[in-house]
Amino acid sequence: MKKVLLIEDDPEQIAIYRIPLELAGFDIMAESGGKDGLARAIGWEPDIILLDIIMEDVDGMAVLRQLKSYKKTKDIPVVILTNVSVKENMEQAKSLGAAAFWEKTRVMPQEIVERCKKILSIP
């Protein structure tokens, strides 16, 4: 069972992503802050991380930078999942090594499942 870590501070958003991922057979954990998310990533070693940018404690970009600097997490594909699709963010995410940059209003929850499968090479 592949493990998905969702780092997202909005409970309603967590709910709409968690449900289809669970139904698709993923083991999913959600953390509502950057610090908790980072700790969870290191301890749990997920197969893929979906990361929000604007969060109450630590900015998603900072979390991404940290994830890419730890030996245990640096090879985990990190997908930025955000509503702030400004060019600077996309470029920054790319330069920091994000696997993808998905805009929440454009990528529906079910599509997120498909895309995660693709990144993880699940048929």
């Binding site: 309603e12 958003q13 289809p20 604007i54 109450e56 404690d57 509503n83 702030v84 529906m108 079910q110």
Partner: protein, 559 residues
């Protein structure tokens, strides 16, 4: 000083006009002047060439057409040719006499100004090179001769065009040299003059009559070769076109062949004289171009550097920068604040559409539907904030007479506090409103709907940005005003952020961390609303981050 710069820069379009003007001067006057020296000589050459062409060749051509009709075949009908030649002499005083001569040198028809003459045999003319050359197909001038009445004449032998290549007839015309000279002397070209060479480079016409009889050969001159080989204007600018005239002066010569017959018409001037205008034009062109470039650079740099120097400009730039920043802040806020609820709405609906929702327990379904509800409310709230802020921003928000009404502030605040107390207690905050017991009305003039929203915004903020401790609402009055204070023990406002707290989309750095969904419009709306009320003002005090904050609203009491 600033004013001078402002004027200078304010008249930027004036300087642009100067640059344009200089360019126009260059284009209309200087550059043509540059060309005109060469062109004027060329034009003289061209004019003379055309006059010779039309007056001599054209006349002969006309006469010949009259002789031959359309057939181009000279059928010797003496009467008809006589008439044509007589017409030619009548039309053109350059011609002294015209004769049609056979290849054996025998005159077939001969006419002079007095009319047809008995033809003569030109035995000697067989040895006349002009006749001989004309029979080869080349028009040729003969040597000038002095006629019986003392006039200087020159013969011109012109081949009669005929079908096929064989030429068996030639027109031999006697030309009045004085009249020819009047053609080449007509243009005034300073110290220069016009001369004509035949296609062998032999000088056949020169203003100086003695030169005509000398028949000098200029065929070796580069410019002469160019004229006859290229058949076009040679402008005399090439180094090999320079040679000394009889006065030993360096010359400037323009050459031009006449059409068809190809005599060369040359205009010769002392070089210094001919190119003096050109040199001036070049200097002028350089000066005007440099001036244009300098002014252009001044304008270009003034937009970058000098513009920033005037106070008015600084203010303008700051204003624009603020607008741009506000716009990008708005986009940032909008993309987060508006899209977050939208993404939940569309996401949940897509799950519903795909049937995913059907696979869930009733409890999970309910929680998702609840999520839609929460986000819809949030979206509505944000949209309302944005619309209201925009409205207040566009119109200078003022409460007009009609909608101003007496408001009992005490009653209004009691209502708000009753609701807010609940919210605060959910967060385990101590909510205090010490004046709840008092019911004596406290009246101000204004719009209840707006005022209530403003006060509610302040109390909401206090609850939102306080994680532990208290929120306290105080109501007081002095002689002229009602004073409402909202105190909290919350996250405070960092000193750096304090000056911009009432601006649109401006949020304190620490506020972002506590409550991400804020639109950054609440305090902007509060300020607009309060200041629209009579005697209204709003301000806050905070000792800094985590030191709490107190917002104070003052509104004039209704008398």
């Amino acid at each position: 000083m600033a004013d001078i710069r402002t004027i200078f820069l304010g008249k930027r379009s004036f300087f642009v006009l100067i640059v344009l003007g200089l360019s126009v001067i260059n284009a209309i006057w200087v550059i043509p002047t540059l060309r005109s020296t060469r062109v004027s000589a060329s034009v003289f050459a061209l004019t003379i060439a055309e006059r010779i062409q039309s007056e001599i060749n054209g006349s002969l051509e006309t006469a010949l057409n009259e002789t031959t009709g359309v057939s181009r075949e000279v059928v010797v009908e003496p009467q008809r040719i006589n008439t044509a030649f007589s017409n030619l002499l009548l039309r053109n005083p350059i011609f002294k006499s015209v004769a049609l001569v056979s290849q054996s040198g025998r005159e077939l028809v001969r006419v002079d100004s007095s009319g047809p003459l008995p033809p003569e045999k030109f035995i000697d003319q067989l040895r006349n090179p002009s006749l001989y050359l004309a029979l080869q197909g080349t028009p040729k001038f003969g040597l000038p001769v002095i006629s019986s009445n003392g006039e200087l004449h020159m013969t011109l032998a012109v081949p009669v065009p005929k079908k096929g290549e064989f030429i068996d007839k030639v027109i031999i015309a006697e030309l009045n040299v004085q009249n020819l000279l009047s053609i080449i002397r007509s243009p005034k070209i300073g110290q220069g003059h016009v001369y004509v060479l035949d296609r062998d480079g032999i000088e056949i016409l020169h203003p100086d009559i003695t030169r005509i009889t000398q028949r000098q050969n200029f065929s070796t001159r580069a410019i002469v070769k160019k004229v006859f080989v290229d058949g076009a204007i040679a402008d005399g600018l090439a180094p090999d076109d320079r040679y000394a005239n009889e006065n030993g002066e360096d010359t400037f010569t323009v050459g031009m062949p006449t059409p068809v017959v190809k005599w060369g018409v040359f205009v010769e001037q002392p070089r210094a004289q001919a190119l003096a205008g050109e040199r001036q034009a070049i200097i002028l062109a350089i000066i005007t171009s440099l001036l244009a470039i300098i002014i252009f650079l001044v304008i270009a740099f003034s937009t970058v550097k000098l513009r920033a120097m005037t106070m008015r400009d600084i203010q303008q730039i700051e204003k624009i920068e603020k607008l741009v920043k506000a716009r990008s802040e708005f986009l940032y806020v909008a993309s987060h604040q508006l899209r977050t609820p939208v993404s939940v709405l569309t996401g949940t609906l897509s799950l519903l559409q795909e049937g995913t929702l059907d696979q869930l327990s009733a409890e999970k379904r309910k929680s998702l539907i609840n999520g839609i509800f929460i986000k819809s409310k949030k979206l509505t709230h944000i949209i309302n904030d944005i619309l209201q802020a925009s409205e207040m921003d566009i119109v200078d928000f003022k409460l007009s007479g009609q909608i101003v009404q007496p408001i009992d502030v005490r009653g209004m605040i009691a209502r708000i506090c009753a609701d807010s107390k609940e919210e605060a207690e959910k967060k385990h905050l101590l909510f205090e409103y010490p004046h709840a017991a008092s019911t004596a009305p406290l009246i101000v003039l204004g719009q209840e709907r707006y005022l209530e929203q403003a006060i509610l915004n302040l109390i909401d903020n206090a609850i939102k940005y306080t994680t532990r401790g208290f929120v306290r609402v105080e109501l007081a009055e002095n002689t002229g005003s009602v004073i409402i204070k909202v105190r909290d023990s919350g996250i405070g406002i960092p000193l750096d952020d304090q000056p911009k707290m009432f601006e649109k989309f401006k949020r304190a750095k620490n506020a972002e961390n506590v409550y991400t969904d804020g639109s950054g419009l609440g305090l902007f709306i509060v300020k607009k609303v309060i200041e629209a009320h009579p005697g209204g003002r709003v301000y806050f005090e905070s000792a800094g981050e985590n030191k709490g904050a107190t917002f104070t609203v003052e509104i004039a009491k209704s008398q």
